[in-house]
Amino acid sequence: MSDKIPFTLNVNSREYQVSVEARQTLADVIREECGLTGTRVGCEHGVCGSCTIIVDGAPVRACLMFAVQAEGKEVRTIEGMADGEELHSVQRAFSDNHGLQCGFCTPGFIMLITAALEQNPAPTDEEIREMLSANLCRCTGYQNIFNAVKQYVGESTETTGAHKND
């Protein structure tokens, strides 16, 4: 079981040379080999969504993917969101709306929302709720997360001129 496979992992536009067992999950390798501990593991069975990252533009549960499967793909994690001290607008919307309390599930939600809204920049309220139901939060009751998404959608449709459909 301990045969290691060397390969290059591209995370947040930076290349990491890693050598890991085939069975190691992407979440574990990002955390332990790349030292990017913002991707947090809540259930290890693909339900809670805390470990959500973006792989080639799609939100992915990093606990359900082997690290070796990410070779040649572009991985984005929470550490790639802010520009220095300047928060990304999704992050700022969370803070503005008190969309986080303990903050453990927050990186997963932020990556989920970021990827989902890249695919559908002007979701309806129903689509937002459905999208958020992919991940679990025990602190907030989701309403302030919903409000954060609404703020972000409002800001980004304002700047892009995209049409709100509800």
């Binding site: 913002g38 069975h45 339900v47 309390q101 303990c102 709720r129 025990r138």
Partner: protein, 814 residues
């Protein structure tokens, strides 16, 4: 979606929606939870857990595991015992009512008493290697009879949860005041109901976990653990490892939610700390969700059998009955959950006579300790369901029945004939409960609901409305220490035994201190949950920290301000009443150029060798430590109204609308208060409709993933509206009450009331929670056939119990 409005414009509104200090690190991923600590050379642990709910452990063979790749050590209890002062952990609160002394073991010895109990630990170079090797540990179990149901646990022919004990009555106690005999003898209406209430786990999204490091040069042991109570953990570690207090530091790093179970000291924390000292390497254990389901404490089952007596005008004359509480296999915290259930029942209403026998039964299941709300939601549920039932029997509106019995504003402060576990009196401090209910009814459109219901019914839709009031005891004393210091570099540092797990504790303390010292709370550094920063402390539970730590922070900040003014007055040659403070400096009001920065003041206050201090009678430094003693609890209240729709073809319930009118006294930060209440409501919706911790007849857990055990998700949340009254508490200087758990309290009661209302055409009588679609569908399907007096599911009648027949016994044979 959420709306919040200020209903009391005449009240002072001192709270500001300050942005949280905690957010930046959490939003960027840079904050450190326990699993994010990556100390060089760290070894990883995996625990071998019992697959049986009850068995003898005849032999354990660790040879194969020890030879597995990457394995550094495998330990069982006999390996660790020489380094421990005791094999059992004293983690529970004392009570005279306890009959059985059943402390959890550090690891299991010759008997396991719940599925998931740790039996051995494997330490390896990676977690993968440790888990592989854990599978190689051979344990020869001899299965024993299992006690899977607390109802049969007290039968005289029941097997024993622990083979060394003769019975399963962990404790028996009672609440008793007034004359219930008289109350029932002359009542116009008296009836009896039984209830089954189930709450599952807390399920913070971060599971538990611990990292320990021993420094041989100083013989200093540091334990980082995802806990609500670092000081309590430190006490157990020091005692069991035989270490003095100065050689152990326990730190709660960022904690990813607690909700109750993280207040207990667990075997893993002791074992990890000990292994780090044995191996002289940092050791990490991170619990996975499967282990959380198996081994993190839960709240589970209560059965109630209660009678209520009323006059024909719905005035309550008295209540009596029994509560049977599932305690699990060990006492991990004490009797606080059933105690809170029993004390909550009569809190909101005037009830002249009350008698409740409480039986606490051992079962072969993971121990029960508080989950957000800690037994109070069950007490609220029973009370509110009885009032709904009384309303039906008397043909009086449900709200009117409550109106006639709620404790009134002019009764405040209202002394109840009840005592807290530490024997202090229950005194409802403030609040206008009837006004709270009226506001809830108004916002919910209670009076016009019947019309809406009728027109929905004409369209084949079954909608219903439900109401629940609650009063919650918050702010458990006796104190929480807070130190406030202006450092020589000019920054303000606050340290407290308070412990944060998502409640914005740092922001709360910073706001209180900033109110005194001026300036922006974000410039104040707050250290929580570190036993080196504050030697005495209790931590986060019982919605206590804003009340208790808040009081000390307020007092300490005032003391520091007084010192700064005294010093500045001397140095600036100005009267103290002419001075002002702005978070960075103290200055003369009319001449702001005459100022001393915090750094200048702190340096002056520290003194110089050989020189007199500038103010002789002040002592050195700009620092104060306060531990304001508060024994009385303060009582928050609220009223919830739920509106639901039931799909009669599937039993699915949709919560259409939900609102709470809430009163937690002065709100220091309204945004944070709303966040706490919303989170509690979500948890309460889970308890009403979804969360079921299943065990089979062998006490094997059968819901051990989030696919089987359902948490509320974003698409299950209704529109929630929050409204606030602010009845400042007269019992503390800030006028505050706790808010962390309140959302949980009325939610299941209000939702189940609404479901019963929606299903009135089917004669539904709902005395349990959670109500899953399967339960409701069965009830709807069988409605025409069932006799009106059919016992509902979960029915329990208290047997005649001779409390004196259950002896005091101990696992140690003492």
């Amino acid at each position: 979606m959420p709306q919040s409005s200020q209903e009391t414009p005449n009240n002072s509104y001192p709270g500001a929606p300050v942005r949280r200090l905690e957010d930046y690190g959490l939003l960027t991923g840079s904050a450190h939870f326990v699993d994010d600590l990556q100390l060089p050379g760290t070894l990883c642990a995996a625990f071998v857990r019992s697959p049986y709910a009850h068995a003898l452990v005849n032999r354990t063979n660790t040879e194969e595991a020890a030879k597995a790749p990457g394995v550094v050590a495998v330990h069982t209890l006999p390996d660790l015992q020489p380094r421990l002062t005791d094999t059992r952990m004293a983690t529970g609160l004392p009570s005279r009512s306890l009959r059985l002394d059943v402390k959890p073991g550090v690891l299991a010895g010759d008997e396991v008493v719940y599925a998931g109990e740790p039996v051995a630990v494997v330490i390896a170079r990676s977690r993968y290697a440790a888990e592989d090797a854990a599978d190689l540990v051979e344990v020869d179990y001899e299965p024993l009879d299992v006690v899977a149901d607390c109802r049969s646990a007290l039968h005289t022919d029941s097997s024993a949860v622990h083979r060394k004990l003769s019975h399963n009555m962990a404790a028996a106690f009672e609440f008793d005041y007034g004359n219930t005999e008289d109350a029932f003898r002359d009542a116009d209406l008296a009836f009896r109901e039984s209830f089954h209430l189930h709450r599952g786990g807390a399920h913070s999204i971060e599971c538990r976990g611990a990292v320990a490091r021993h420094d041989p040069a100083t013989d200093h042991l540091t334990l980082w653990t995802s806990t609500q109570r670092p000081h309590g953990i430190k006490r157990v570690i020091c005692d069991l490892l035989g270490r003095n207090d100065d050689s152990v530091r326990v730190i709660a790093p960022q904690v990813g939610g607690g909700f109750g179970p993280k207040l207990v000291c667990y075997p893993e924390e002791v074992v990890i700390a000990l292994c780090a000292t044995i191996l002289q390497r940092p050791v990490k254990w991170i619990q996975d969700r499967y282990e959380y389901f198996l081994s993190t404490t839960q709240e589970r089952d209560q059965y109630w059998d209660v009678e209520i007596a009323l006059d024909s005008d719905a005035t309550i004359r008295g209540m009596r009955g029994a509560l049977l509480h599932d305690h699990g296999a060990y006492t991990a915290r004490g009797l606080n959950v059933p105690y809170a259930s029993g004390i909550t029942l009569p809190l909101a209403y005037n009830i002249p006579a009350y008698h409740l026998d409480v039986y606490v039964a051992l079962t072969n299941k993971v121990p029960v300790t508080p989950v957000r709300g800690a037994g109070q939601p069950q007490g609220v549920f029973v009370m509110e369901r009885l009032l709904d039932r009384a309303a039906g029997k008397l043909s009086i509106d449900r709200a009117e029945v409550r109106r006639r019995n709620l404790v009134r504003k002019e009764q405040m402060p209202c002394r109840k004939s009840l005592r807290l576990r530490g024997d202090t009196e229950v005194i409802l401090d403030s609040g206008d409960y009837p006004a709270t209910q009226e506001l809830a009814l108004k916002h919910a459109g209670w009076d016009s609901f019947r019309e809406r219901q009728q027109s929905a019914l004409e369209q084949g839709r079954y909608i219903g409305i439900g109401l629940a009031n609650f009063v919650e005891g918050t702010g458990r004393g006796p104190y929480e220490t807070v130190t406030v210091r202006i450092n020589a570099s000019g920054n303000v540092a606050v340290a407290s035994g308070a412990t944060a797990m998502g409640q914005s504790t740092q922001t709360m303390l910073a706001q209180i201190v900033a109110e005194q010292l001026g300036g922006d709370p974000s410039r104040i550094g707050v250290t929580c949950g570190d036993t080196d920063a504050t030697p005495l402390g209790f931590g986060g539970f019982n919605s206590r920290q804003t009340v208790i730590a808040g009081a000390s922070a307020h007092a300490a900040a005032r003391a520091v301000k007084a010192k700064a003014f005294k010093l500045a007055s001397r140095l600036l040659e100005a009267a103290e009443h002419d001075l002002e403070i702005d978070g960075r400096a103290v200055f003369v009001k009319d001449a702001p150029d005459r100022r001393l920065t915090f750094a200048e003041l702190a340096r002056a206050a520290s003194g110089l060798p050989g020189f007199k201090l500038p103010v002789a009678d002040m002592g050195p430094g700009l620092e104060a430590t306060e531990s304001v003693i508060i024994d009385d609890m303060v009582y928050a209240n609220g009223s919830a109204v739920a509106e639901v729709e039931v799909d009669i073809d599937t039993g699915r319930v949709t919560v259409l609308r939900f609102l709470v009118v809430h009163d937690c006294g002065r709100r220091l930060n309204p945004v944070i208060v709303d966040g706490q209440v919303l989170g509690g409501i979500a948890h309460g919706i889970g308890n009403a409709l979804f969360e079921w911790m299943g065990f089979d007849e062998d006490a094997q857990p059968v819901t051990t993933t989030f696919a089987d055990y359902l948490l509320v998700a974003a698409d299950n949340m209704p529109e929630v509206r929050l409204f606030h009254l602010e009845s400042d508490s007269p019992f503390n200087a800030l006028g505050v009450k706790g808010v962390g758990e309140s959302g949980c309290l009325p939610t299941p009661a209000a939702i189940v009331s609404a479901i019963e209302d929606a299903l009135a055409p089917f004669g539904a009588k709902l005395n349990q929670a959670p109500l899953t679609p399967a339960v409701l569908w069965e009830l709807i399907r069988s409605a025409p056939d069932s006799a009106p007096d059919t016992a509902p599911p979960g029915h329990w009648r208290a047997p005649d119990i001779d409390k004196d027949a259950y002896r005091q016994e101990s696992l140690d044979g003492r």
